[in-house]
Symmetry: C2
Amino acid sequence: MEQLQHWIEILEENGCRITSPRRVIIEILLNSPRALEPTEIYDLGREMNPGIGLVTVYRTLEKLEELGLIQRIHQEDGCHMVMPAVEGHQHYLVCTACGKTTVFRGDDLGALFSRVETNTGYQVNDHWLQLFGTCPDCKNDHKNG
Amino acid sequence: MEQLQHWIEILEENGCRITSPRRVIIEILLNSPRALEPTEIYDLGREMNPGIGLVTVYRTLEKLEELGLIQRIHQEDGCHMVMPAVEGHQHYLVCTACGKTTVFRGDDLGALFSRVETNTGYQVNDHWLQLFGTCPDCKNDHKNG
DNA sequence: CTTCTAAATGAAAATGATTATCATTATCAT
DNA sequence: ATGATAATGATAATCATTTTCATTTAGAAG
Ligand SMILES: [Mn+2]
Ligand SMILES: [Mn+2]
Ligand SMILES: [Zn+2]
Ligand SMILES: [Zn+2]
């Protein structure tokens, strides 16, 4: 749990107090193999600390995102999930069967952006790329069944 | 307005009735230079036909999406916008200043997908790419002021 | 042109996610 | 140990979207 200590230090460095709900929420985020929705974090959190409130989950996630410790993952319908952030530029690869989420890097979209800028006259400032697929475990599950 | 006729034909071919609200909503979609949120379509629709309801906007959009005539554009916060769909595989380029949205094609992400599949063991089935930038008009506005 | 029926509509309420309020609690610097 | 105030949690508010249901209407049939 050094990762947990690291997050706590960053919170302290930023003038935040270390509270029981925050510990619980951070632990949940760090131990989850997949991205979670706020209500999922809430449900898991209540198992550890029944007094915890959904509003505190939202507020803690807001703070953690502000500090760059977590990132949002977008879904078709609109509800967001969150997961620990990874340093630097990267994108998500989400398993559509079980939700397990992985990051990848090394996308080189520079050539595409240049082409698009030339063709459209727009200046491209940002991009948003997310991949969907089947993780190794779910591929096997499907084979066996 | 041949585009409008085309959409109406497709609705008819699929057993849908052609109603006044539907005409209004389709006209708004086809005449907008940018993607619209459901409430924006609702407000514009009321100017033409004050009796129209927001629920009908949602239902009509659902139907149009089902028929592949419109597509959703995702936003950071979660609320969706819609705009007429373009044939074939393409992605959106959204102006962050005025909202004007354009499509582009010719992304060749095959090499990236292969690399990701090798590195992660996932099978990549789908992808989601959206670019953000500044449109030509807004670039000029910024220069002048 | 009427008649008929299922599709479509709109008002109102329900739902689900997120945010705001505010009195109470608890962290942590002193 | 004490106090200032950050954080919490119960509650209510807000916002987008969906459901319900009684009423209207498009368009097929006669
Ligand atoms: Mn990238
Ligand atoms: Mn593509
Ligand atoms: Zn999986
Ligand atoms: Zn613009």
